[in-house]
């Protein structure tokens, strides 16, 4: 992995361990995907709502948690200008341009502010320290969606 780029994966894995009852429900599916790119649109197909958990770069302090709706994404820098590794912003924008139903779902984003994305590096201390809060945020989001 590349440093804090693993933040989303690690947060979801922690949530699956700490909140196994919620994570194990038949109406809840967790997909850990390293580089979904355009596949994100397929992953969202057929679901009623989704929470995307990923590392983000917005200039905030490393480890900051951002819980936002899709329409607030303009605050975040887009990823590299190549469809070889499109990020969430670009893919959902494409889905919107195509009027795909998968891009119209209720989508919440949980972003964990990254400090570094060095090849071969592990998580930075601030991001590792943010994982328990991220785990709890995931549980709260999922619970709210299930109750909604």
């Amino acid at each position: 992995m590349r440093g804090d780029d693993a933040a989303g994966l690690e947060a979801v894995r922690l949530w699956q361990r700490k909140h196994a009852r919620t994570a194990g429900r038949t109406d809840v599916r967790a997909a850990i995907v390293e580089e979904p790119g355009l596949e994100l649109l397929d992953l969202l197909d057929g679901v009623d709502a989704a929470i995307l958990v990923d590392a983000v770069c917005s200039g905030a302090a490393a480890g900051t948690l951002h819980q936002i709706d899709l329409n607030e994404l303009s605050d975040f820098r887009e990823g590299p200008a190549s469809a070889h590794s499109w990020g969430v912003v670009e893919v959902l924008r494409l889905g919107g341009a195509l009027h795909l139903q998968s891009a119209q779902r209720a989508i919440r984003l949980l972003g964990i502010e990254a400090e570094q994305m060095e090849i071969g590096a592990g998580l930075s201390d601030p991001v590792a320290g943010a994982l328990p809060a991220a785990c709890n945020a995931i549980e709260n989001e999922v619970t709210a969606l299930l109750q909604g």
Partner: protein, 432 residues
């Protein structure tokens, strides 16, 4: 001096910039500045066990991992004197079909098509031609699903090993893909016709095309390297004729022929050299679309990719229909010291590997020559050829046309920067 500068190219994989310096109507300097950081794969492969190599080298690229897995497996099998079964060879071709489908669909529709339609991005193209982009997504998904069915996942698949595969994929899953593969074949046939209706900038170059060649199949993992200048080499002689060198402005090595010339690998080279080996339906697509070979316009690699989509959808259907694996999924390996080389055709062109191993199967040295690195001097040469036309254009148009040319090559810059020669020199204390 007029300059055309694109500090960071869009819609190419990896990070690189373009610089063209023009003076008195002539290009005086052209550089593809590859500043994607070097990645040192050849270095850190040393000491690894040979079975780790396919999985490690797959990480060189997220779009063409299969190419790295196949080239590395072929090279290491060559070192050990191992021949795989016909079933393994067929499954390897099927896996390659998946990679070609997803890579070509992505490049054609999301990366190059916006240029051909005069759009800035795939988003604009999606707004203008939503059904075209939806088709592209469906095509790419088929390729990804095929990779997932065989390799366990589409990005950096995990089922390839030296000697074959760790396990046979589930035939039920593969055969369930036949309806989508059939749809994809028809979509690819239409893509060939559509590709001939698009407007391509005028540029014709007498390239030396280079590609692997097989007598009975469209060249993917052939034993010979052919060139349009008449060279026909065994793979073991590749490095004697196609030579890498370091250039100052690039973190990727550049390649030249032994006589100092540039050459072109990729879909144009494959189609021009190997069209006799195309499946009948792909030949039919060529004929019905009125395509005359050889294609010498780099922008028309789009057409070549469309024809290859037909080829690989057809092969995928045939292999899946016949799939009935028998025997072990991989050969047992008797480890011994030695050296081996192997090559396969990545979607972007010939990918060559060479390894030395010790008698424990540990890598002693590695050499990886990716297709994009081989094409870099050719891209710069194409830009020199285009320079007289660029000089008389408004700067924005000239910049766009130069960028479009680079994108037509579908460069994979992350692949190209896998290696850098590093020299460390100790200076005395009087030096500043």
């Amino acid at each position: 001096m007029k300059t055309i500068e694109v500090p960071a190219m869009a819609r190419v994989e990896g990070e690189g910039g373009l610089y063209i310096g023009l003076q008195s109507g002539e290009a005086v300097e052209i550089r593809l500045d590859i500043y994607e950081p070097p990645r040192f794969f050849e270095g850190f492969l040393r000491g690894r066990f040979l079975q780790e190599v396919p999985d490690i080298t797959a990480r060189i690229c997220g779009i063409c991992p299969v190419a790295y897995q196949m080239s590395s497996a072929l090279a290491l099998e060559n070192a050990l004197g191992v021949s795989v079964s016909a079933e393994v060879r067929a499954l390897r071709r099927l896996m390659y079909c998946g990679e070609y489908i997803e890579s070509h669909a992505l490049h054609m529709y999301m990366l190059q098509a916006p240029d051909l339609f005069g759009k800035e991005s795939a988003f604009e193209l999606a707004e203008m031609e939503p059904e075209t982009v939806k088709k592209a997504l469906r095509l790419k998904k088929i390729g990804n699903e095929l990779l997932k069915a065989i390799g366990g996942r589409s990005v950096h698949p995990v089922n390839v090993c030296v000697g074959g595969f760790y396990s046979w994929p589930d035939g039920t899953v593969l055969k369930a893909m036949l309806p989508e593969l059939t749809w994809g074949l028809e979509a690819a046939m239409q893509a060939v016709k559509w590709s001939t209706t698009l407007h391509y900038p005028k540029l014709e170059i007498n390239y030396e095309f280079v590609a692997l060649h097989e007598e009975k199949e469209y060249g993917l993992m052939g034993s010979e390297v052919w060139s349009s200048r008449g060279r026909k080499l065994a793979i073991r002689d590749y490095e004697k004729t196609y030579i890498e060198e370091h250039v100052r402005h690039s973190n990727a090595l550049h390649s030249h022929t032994v006589d100092g010339g540039t050459y072109l690998v990729g879909p144009l080279a494959r189609l021009n050299l190997n069209h006799d080996q195309l499946a009948p339906i792909a030949k039919q697509a060529l004929k019905e679309a009125g395509i005359k070979l050889p294609l010498k316009n780099p922008y028309k690699s789009f057409i070549a990719r469309a024809v290859e989509l037909v080829q690989f959808f057809k092969e995928a259907i045939d292999i899946v229909q016949a799939y009935a694996p028998a025997g072990p999924a991989h050969m047992e390996l008797d480890l011994k010291a030695g050296e081996g080389c192997g090559a396969s055709e990545a979607p972007r062109g010939t990918l060559y590997h060479r390894y030395q191993i010790d008698d424990h199967g540990l890598i002693q040295s590695a050499k990886i020559v990716p297709p994009t690195a081989q094409n870099l001097p050719r891209i710069e040469a194409d830009l020199f050829a285009m320079a007289p036309a660029l000089v008389v254009m408004p700067e924005a148009a000239a910049t766009r046309q130069a960028e479009d040319l680079v994108r037509a090559y579908d460069p994979c810059i992350s692949c190209a920067t896998h290696f850098l020669k590093l020299k460390m020199e100790e200076r005395d204390s009087s030096c500043k």
